[in-house]
Symmetry: C3
Subunit: 378 residues, 3 copies
Amino acid sequence: MVQGSVAEGFESVREEFAAVAVAEGGDYAAQLAAYRQGERVVDLWTGPEMTGDSLTGVFSSTKGAAHLVVALLAQDGVLDLDTTVGHYWPEFAVEGKQDVTLRDLLAHRAGVVGADTGFAIDELADDRIVAERVGGQRPYWRPGTAFGYHALVIGALTGEVVRRVTGQSLQQVYEQRVRAPFGLDFHLGLPEAAESRFLTTQPMLPTPEQQAELDEGYTASNSLTGIAFNQNHPKAVELVELPNSRVVRELGPASVGGVASAHGMARMYAAAISSVDGQAPLLRPDTAAAFAQVHSLGYDLVLRQHHGFGLGFEALGDKYPLLGQGVFGHSGAAGSLAFADPRSGVAYGYNRRRFAFPGGPAPENERLFKAVLTAASP
Amino acid sequence: MVQGSVAEGFESVREEFAAVAVAEGGDYAAQLAAYRQGERVVDLWTGPEMTGDSLTGVFSSTKGAAHLVVALLAQDGVLDLDTTVGHYWPEFAVEGKQDVTLRDLLAHRAGVVGADTGFAIDELADDRIVAERVGGQRPYWRPGTAFGYHALVIGALTGEVVRRVTGQSLQQVYEQRVRAPFGLDFHLGLPEAAESRFLTTQPMLPTPEQQAELDEGYTASNSLTGIAFNQNHPKAVELVELPNSRVVRELGPASVGGVASAHGMARMYAAAISSVDGQAPLLRPDTAAAFAQVHSLGYDLVLRQHHGFGLGFEALGDKYPLLGQGVFGHSGAAGSLAFADPRSGVAYGYNRRRFAFPGGPAPENERLFKAVLTAASP
Amino acid sequence: MVQGSVAEGFESVREEFAAVAVAEGGDYAAQLAAYRQGERVVDLWTGPEMTGDSLTGVFSSTKGAAHLVVALLAQDGVLDLDTTVGHYWPEFAVEGKQDVTLRDLLAHRAGVVGADTGFAIDELADDRIVAERVGGQRPYWRPGTAFGYHALVIGALTGEVVRRVTGQSLQQVYEQRVRAPFGLDFHLGLPEAAESRFLTTQPMLPTPEQQAELDEGYTASNSLTGIAFNQNHPKAVELVELPNSRVVRELGPASVGGVASAHGMARMYAAAISSVDGQAPLLRPDTAAAFAQVHSLGYDLVLRQHHGFGLGFEALGDKYPLLGQGVFGHSGAAGSLAFADPRSGVAYGYNRRRFAFPGGPAPENERLFKAVLTAASP
């Protein structure tokens, strides 16, 4: 049963979410939220233990929060996208990475997607350890010739640039400039006090056919994909374990360690492009456009499939033909997706507790955001 | 019934065209023409109302005429391919397009595939309006990282460069240097006197299965594809309406506004590479090779599929394995295709009145040009 | 029946090879060899006339030997990867290739994949003739925008750079620095005395279904693919004829003219990364990593499919998800494959006498190297 509320005109979103819940069945637990022009218009949830204020790990949707910080600093002129990473962080400028710009790094073009040694879970939780180990490495491809998803490390790398320039961690800047002013339930570093609202992430329950499909996609632990997903570490960590580990929740690594509710995610994207509670939008339209601009699109060497990125955010419009040009956001492993659509003024957030097949944004997102966008621009 | 004539040795082309006519059935109306070493060897037509001198809208095959002009000006040294567009046209050098060269623009790499506001049909007909509106925009992708078909605007953009440098419109230069000297029935701007020979373009008549396939390819009106095809304008214009509108025919926008017969198209490409009626070939072999050279090949962000471009022309050899390296030409939405093959000295032109499924060059072109090439080099 | 020997722990490799032999049936004749940390652990062969010391044409696996030479010269500082080819070889710096670096050339990005005139077989055997004819050509695509397999010419081009810098042919440097010191049965230029051990290569015997699939992939003789495989020469040479021609075996063209046994190939890659017979590894780890680094990955304009290259070597890890990052090697037309895996210390070599469907590395390689790698790191 779907709980929560929708604004007038968004009743169809509740119906669609209810239909998804029926289709998913079992112990499906999820939250769906949306804003329009800075006003909350959808705030729904369903499933056992789930409330509107429950918090779950949002995996790579975290990158949206992290790179909103980078966008703010670029907007302020504190960071310059076309300056080399090495200018800000000299230790990065080695092994053929001397010419890699901040823009290249944000577009997943730098080539340092992991570390030859891999990471223990408490190392992976600490962006400074990740940055130090990965930043000094030889890139796995020649920078400038390809791109690939820096799945578990991008936020540590861009975060290190933030730290070198501001003297603060990306997480601190996020807290001060984004999370606290809007009271967002989207945390990079979950305070002890909020732990009681956290629900653990649950592993995927693939059917035998789905498992066979997953097995077919197997890659060696020291393949490029294996390295990017840290499968090359002797104690390889399953993704599902990350948010379920307190050290990850506490440190909130900027690539995958965020903990949020759907309304926390939607509100963050609303604040990015709209006036929320009378505050000015965080981003100017040209900043949003610059970060939404397609920078890498085609074959992703890590994902081994077609994918697209803007700057720090995913280029969602190519994957989803129903989304307009200029939409920026990010999806996460268990199935979450959140984005802002500057044209319609819509901000969308969705998360779920159990990993959806086949990984990445859950398929039901397409039904759900279609319902939201249709209701928002009837 | 196929009408017209073929040179000795090209009887098989007539037979193949007749077979296509039978297969197409219904109200199929089309023209097929070919030259070899500057001599017309095929001039055929079929279908209701159609004559050898009938004129139809050739949509993007227009780009072949437009960029023959650019090739001529590059050959003359009037335009330099590796100079920035902004050098010729300062208003273009904004929003991250400062380093975009004329070569990049011709290769569909500039990223300004349309306008955020879209165009009314009379605006779309006027290359100066299109150029002004699109030229100042932020590119939809980072120039240098991708390419995509500038379907309705490329000719306005390259045409603006022509205008800035020569003081004449691309259409005027085309008329003086290409169309008039060879008496081509391929018009960028159809004179009133030729209107009586014009046949309106007819819409596609997809089967239910074909319609379902088309529906599957649906993209939002403000997606990159939607913008490139002007679906984001409040009064979105169906492609089929373009040549059926007198303002489009009159102004002959350089991207999609050309009106021609098949022999007009074939004769233009023949004149480009061969001596026609004793006149010198328009292009030197190295100019033809430079414009035929592959410049963009892979995933096209607008077409959302694999595609290839030379400079202003399509890189047809990748799409059609039967075409040799160095072939240059262009296809159009209703199904037209025209090209020159410098190796064999063949020039090919085909157009049809009714939109063919699935859009772009009609499938029958492969049968037809295979027949022509085989007859030409037995 | 499989003959030869395996080290303790590699019995499963013999079983897998025997299973392959049963599956292949007929006149299947092949060799399989592997090293671990510089020690031979697999040396097997099977089939009529085949012995462990038989020699067969290894086609493009030759490129692995050729580019091991380039890697050595780069390691010595004799060659600089980021210097233009034209610096070393001024005649190359024409027709828009002025900025092409040695790195670009090694990554199959230069665009000169063949010659407009094609080559007679005795010309194709002579790297100097190939280099002179191809080096002066206009590239078939704009350098910097794409890549494609320089199938029959890459070794002549990189070899010409070697010759200009060292005054010796690539084949001579290979003989002195690689083949002779390790007594490798992998020859670029087969001495008369070894001719008695040479077995001719046998043509593919496709089933009707396979033949239909091959026919579907047909490309015109003067298409980019046709040119790259020399099908545009009046006396087009079938690939299978190359090693069967004495002039090819004698001159050992660096792209496709190598003759080897499987243990010769495996031993070469072992010597590249390990201490063999007490000698130092030929390559330092950073040199191996630099040449294994992905440089070109995506749509290959010649192969008309997804493919990947490092520098001179193939980027095998993308094609084979079971291979780790950093593996470097090359495959060949009849079905051969050889590579080094610096992580596990494994070197692998396989060749077969009869062309395997569909061309390129034979499908059985995946079974065989999986068995080797599994046995090597139990």
